[in-house]
């Protein structure tokens, strides 16, 4: 029972790190393409977030189980083949949940199969950690990615249309231009500064926390 609680607490810490303190986008500088180039509307953000979790969770869990059986030099290829295979049902599931989203995302959705967060966690983390930790990490990174892309998209969509989730009208927002990648980079930079400030405060309070 004690061991179970320790494991769960550890898994909780891994999940929290993935969402905020070690956010893969804002701290790890991974997965910036969808945030910068496609994260300008909440529907895009929702579709990419769901696609990410449907890709990340099964890929990482599978590689956790079989990763150590694959020679290290061949693991990158295995990751790509696994994510390619899981892309098919994941994309179909997203299309069913949010009809039309995959077509409107175009290349952004297609390239999620080789998303750098996904690749990095599946290749480096999953094969060398226990099942619970990998699951917590996959969910944490998914939540972290979703939080960033949804927040950035909400701000950009509000600027462009005056509303979020298609409640606004194109052209009736504050201005144009924020659907360009520069806005994604700038907003990600400001959010990354916020997370870094939080981590600095935590480190100043108690270095053991970080």
């Amino acid at each position: 029972m004690d061991n179970g609680r320790v494991f769960l607490r550890g898994a909780g810490a891994i999940f929290r790190n993935g969402v905020l303190f070690r956010n893969p986008v804002l701290v790890g500088a991974l997965g910036l393409y969808p945030v910068a180039a496609a994260g300008f509307g909440m529907q895009n953000a929702a579709a990419l977030s769901i696609l990410f979790v449907f890709l990340a969770l099964p890929s990482q869990l599978l590689l956790c189980l079989v990763g150590m059986l694959i020679p290290k030099w061949a693991r990158p290829a295995a990751v790509l083949l696994v994510t390619a295979a899981f892309y098919l049902p994941a994309a179909r599931a997203v299309q069913r949940l949010l009809p039309g989203s995959m077509e409107s995302l175009g290349m952004a959705a297609a390239l999620m199969a080789c998303n750098s967060i996904l690749y990095s966690r599946a290749e480096e983390y999953a094969p060398e950690h226990i099942f619970l930790a990998v699951g917590a990490d996959a969910l944490g990174c998914s939540a972290g990615f979703a939080a960033v892309i949804c927040l950035v998209s909400a701000l950009r969509e509000f600027w462009l249309t005056g509303g979020v989730w298609s409640s606004g009208t194109p052209g009736s927002g504050i201005g144009a231009g924020l659907d360009l990648p520069f806005a994604g980079f700038l907003l990600a930079g400001l959010l990354a500064a916020l997370v870094q400030w939080i981590n600095i405060r935590r480190a100043d309070r108690d270095p053991r926390e970080v």
């Binding site: 504050i174 201005g175 144009a176 231009g177 924020l178 360009l180 700038l186 930079g189």
Partner: protein, 324 residues
């Protein structure tokens, strides 16, 4: 006046950053005179709100960084004035404010105090405005209309087509190059009076507030490319005249390209930097989406500046900057 006896040699004091900024401010204020005489006090109110916004943002940034209110250098005023002069006079007053806030809070404050910004803040602010509100940035009132703009309120007006927009469409502007010397064409507030901009350039160069290499190479490359690749069917000389006098090319060469903070360290590096900015600007004019590309070209050149420094150091066999 107190006179001090000093022994020869009589050596002029090196310019300080404060003296350079004061000279630049003086030059920028000089560009407001003709528009104010022609169109009323709106140029002054535009410049005033822009500078005020930059000051408030500078104070806010200092508060967040150091907890103090003090602003120790007048660079915010330079940024505010440059932004106001790059806007159309008929633009709403919140436009230079929004650009000024972006320039100080995004392009300057995150990188530290004055002298640490890798990009020219005014160029970044103008680029932001051009991308977010292109309609407001590139719509000009017709200066041939006898029209005094209100000091603060927005206004309706007959629009005029700028020479830069006409050239972008591959047509020859109606206005003669000679008439463009005094700012009588539709265009941004402070970039039209080429003679005044030229006088400001001479002031900056002779007072050593700016180094000559970057602006001279910038203008030379722009002129060369305008002569070799004209956008309109005309003689090379006519193409050069129209390209140099239209848009914010001249203004950009004098006030943006000559900014010493993001520019390279060495003289030859400054020359290469100016030439690169000139080539980038002409590329933007030929292939870009906007009728004006001076601020985009300056941003590209700012990013290339450390690479130019590194290349020059390598050629000269220096490990790092000679003064550390």
């Amino acid at each position: 006046m107190n006179l001090r006896n000093a022994a020869p040699p009589f050596v002029r004091a090196e310019p300080t950053s404060a003296s350079m900024l004061r000279t630049v401010l003086f030059a920028l204020c000089a560009l407001l005179v003709i528009p104010t005489v022609r169109y009323g006090i709106r140029p002054l109110t535009m410049a005033g709100v822009s500078v005020l916004t930059c000051l408030v943002c500078e104070i806010l940034a200092n508060l967040l960084r150091t907890g103090g209110f003090s602003v120790t250098d007048p660079s915010f005023a330079v940024t505010g004035l440059v932004l106001a002069l790059l806007m159309p006079l008929n633009a709403p007053l919140w436009l230079p404010c929004a650009s000024g806030a972006f320039a100080v809070l995004v392009a300057k404050a995150p990188f530290g105090s004055f002298g640490r910004n890798p990009f020219n803040p005014a160029a970044a602010g103008a680029a932001f405005a051009a991308l977010c509100w292109p309609g407001l940035m590139f719509t000009y009132f017709d200066p041939s209309e006898p029209f005094r703009l209100p000091a603060f309120a927005d206004c309706t007006f007959r629009t005029g087509v700028s020479a830069a927009a006409t050239l972008k469409n591959g047509l020859k502007p109606d206005i003669l190059p000679l008439d463009m010397l005094w700012g009588e064409a539709a265009g941004p507030l402070g970039t039209g009076a080429a003679l005044v901009v030229g006088a400001c350039a001479l002031l900056l160069l002779f007072s050593r507030a700016a180094h000559w290499q970057a602006p001279v190479c910038f203008l030379a490359v722009c002129a060369l490319l305008a002569a070799l690749f004209p956008r309109i069917a005309c003689s090379p000389l006519t193409s050069v005249k129209y390209e140099l006098l239209s848009g914010s090319l001249l203004f950009g060469g004098v006030f943006l390209v000559s900014d010493p903070v993001p520019a390279p360290y060495t003289a030859s590096g400054k020359g290469i930097y100016g030439a690169f900015a000139g080539a980038a600007l002409m590329a933007f004019r030929h292939f870009g989406v906007c009728e004006q590309g001076a601020w985009f070209a300056v941003l590209l050149a700012n990013a290339a500046s450390p690479l130019i420094d590194r290349a020059v150091f390598r050629v000269r066999g220096w490990e790092e900057k000679p003064h550390g």
